[in-house]
């Protein structure tokens, strides 16, 4: 680990929440436009988080606080590991710590909504985790390494080789972004039969911590998406922009679906797509 990567890590840790917040702001603005509304200011997510940080503390038990902090730490750590260009799979496992601790935080409160949210969150994780692993394996197939440094050094855009796997990755992105049709365990605007699912019992500063951690996660997942076009910055930008726009559109044209549908549909489609893409690769290599 040299000075350059340390600086890179620090920059990533500082700018990720900023980028995440701006992204969320732009997201809300564009969503508003899609709905024929004017929309909030771009800085709105920052106002929300600052306001939450300044609210009275209110908890059901202290485990919640512990879990919120661990979630933040693990999200930061996984982003730092990404910035250090280490192993994709390892980063993914580190990210799992946070996700699991958020579930634990929700399960630790004796609130029915939070409990159901936690169960659903577990099922969401169950849905996207194998897909992410498959995507990483696909990347490994192409580049011969799980290490980001090697993937970045690959001389062709991976997107062109693994377009279907990128689609699979966007499933995971949709789930992670908590967007329709997969905003099952908790959704942003909170009009849900389980109130706000896993986030129900978090309030004030702790909700803000979760929100910041969520931004880190989003940035990380988008960073993973960006690995699919590492050869040029413009290509990367367009890939991410189009992906995010597609997410917003999908969010607006679909209702929330049930977890049973999510599990069966995402697995069926995701696994078929990835196997098909792998088969294509095999066919090409012969």
């Amino acid at each position: 680990m040299d000075i350059k990567s340390i600086i890179f890590v620090i920059l990533a840790l500082i700018f990720a929440p900023v980028a995440g917040g701006f992204l969320a702001g732009i997201d809300r603005r564009l969503t508003a436009w899609c709905q024929g509304r004017f929309g909030p200011p771009i800085l709105q997510p920052f106002y929300d988080v600052f306001k939450l940080l300044g609210k009275d503390r209110q908890v059901v038990n202290t485990w919640q606080i512990f879990c919120a902090h661990i979630y933040l730490i693990s999200s930061m750590l996984s982003l730092a590991l990404f910035a250090m260009q280490s192993d994709l799979l390892m980063i993914f496992f580190v990210m799992t710590i946070g996700a699991v601790f958020m579930v634990i935080g929700a399960l630790s409160t004796p609130s029915p909504y939070s409990q159901i949210g936690a169960q659903r969150e577990l099922i969401q994780m169950l849905t996207y985790e194998p897909l992410l692993v498959i995507v990483f394996v696909g990347i490994y197939f192409v580049t011969g390494s799980f290490k980001i440094s090697d993937i970045v050094a690959y001389d062709r855009p991976i997107f062109l080789i693994l377009p279907l796997l990128y689609l699979v990755l966007t499933f995971a992105l949709t789930i992670k972004l908590r967007k329709s049709p997969f905003d099952i365990s908790a959704c942003h605007h909170g009009h849900q039969e389980i109130v706000r699912g896993v986030l129900t019992e978090y309030s004030g500063p702790y909700l803000a911590i979760l929100e910041i951690a969520h931004w880190y996660d989003i940035v990380l997942i988008l960073a993973i998406c960006s690995l699919f076009w590492t050869t040029s910055a413009i290509g990367m930008f367009f890939l991410l922009a189009i992906t995010y726009l597609a997410e917003i559109v999908i969010d607006n044209i679909t209702p929330r679906l049930t977890w049973k549908w999510m599990l069966t549909y995402v697995w069926a489609v995701g696994i078929t797509l990835s196997l098909f893409n792998m088969a294509l690769l095999y066919a090409k290599s012969f």
Binding site: F46, F50, K51, G54, K55, Q58, G190
Partner: protein
């Protein structure tokens, strides 16, 4: 330090999340509150979100008359909101009990149960009036308040209940 205080104040004013409790309203005010969220009025411009969960909310919007059953719920919802918080009573019923004041199961306006910061009159209140009300309530959010002593209010509520339970607009003989 000054910067952070200012930042906090700005954020509070820019991001009021509301929780709406329909407290025995005729739905007229409820739909007007919902109409505020819709494209024509779009209160998300001001960062207002209808968050639906008192634990996340800054402003409690109450529409409708308080009756004996929902008074307890209203109180509970209010208690679960972390400070700083504000309460807006919407409509004739929410502010005073409106046309139903004399009905037997009506305690009265929202201020009989919890402290109200802003009264929005109307039957039903117009979306514009509700937006005005929220803006007025934002001033309350700016000041950091700690949990205020609401014991006196509880006593007042008790009195109100006693009064309404024993009033003599129905003659009842043994």
């Amino acid at each position: 330090m000054g910067f952070f205080t200012k930042l906090l104040e700005t954020s509070r004013v820019k991001s009021p999340w509301i929780v709406h409790f329909d407290c025995g309203s005729c739905n007229g005010c409820d739909i007007e509150i919902l109409a505020c969220l819709t494209p024509i009025y779009d209160v998300e411009r001001f960062g207002i979100l209808n968050i639906g969960n008192p634990k996340h909310a800054d402003i409690l919007i109450v529409s409708g008359t308080v009756n004996h059953r929902n008074a307890k719920v209203l109180r509970n919802v209010y208690d679960q909101m972390p400070e700083p918080r504000a309460v807006i009573a919407i409509g004739a019923c929410g502010t005073s009990g409106g046309i139903f004041r004399e009905a037997y199961n009506v305690v009265g306006g929202v201020d009989k149960v919890i402290p109200v910061d802003v009264y929005v009159p109307g039957c039903p209140a117009k979306p514009e009036a509700i937006i005005d009300g929220v803006v007025l309530a934002l001033g309350k959010l700016k000041e950091q308040r700690t949990a205020k002593d609401t014991d006196s209010l509880a006593a007042e509520l008790h009195q109100a209940r006693e009064f309404y339970a024993n009033r003599a607009d129905r003659q009842v003989v043994e």
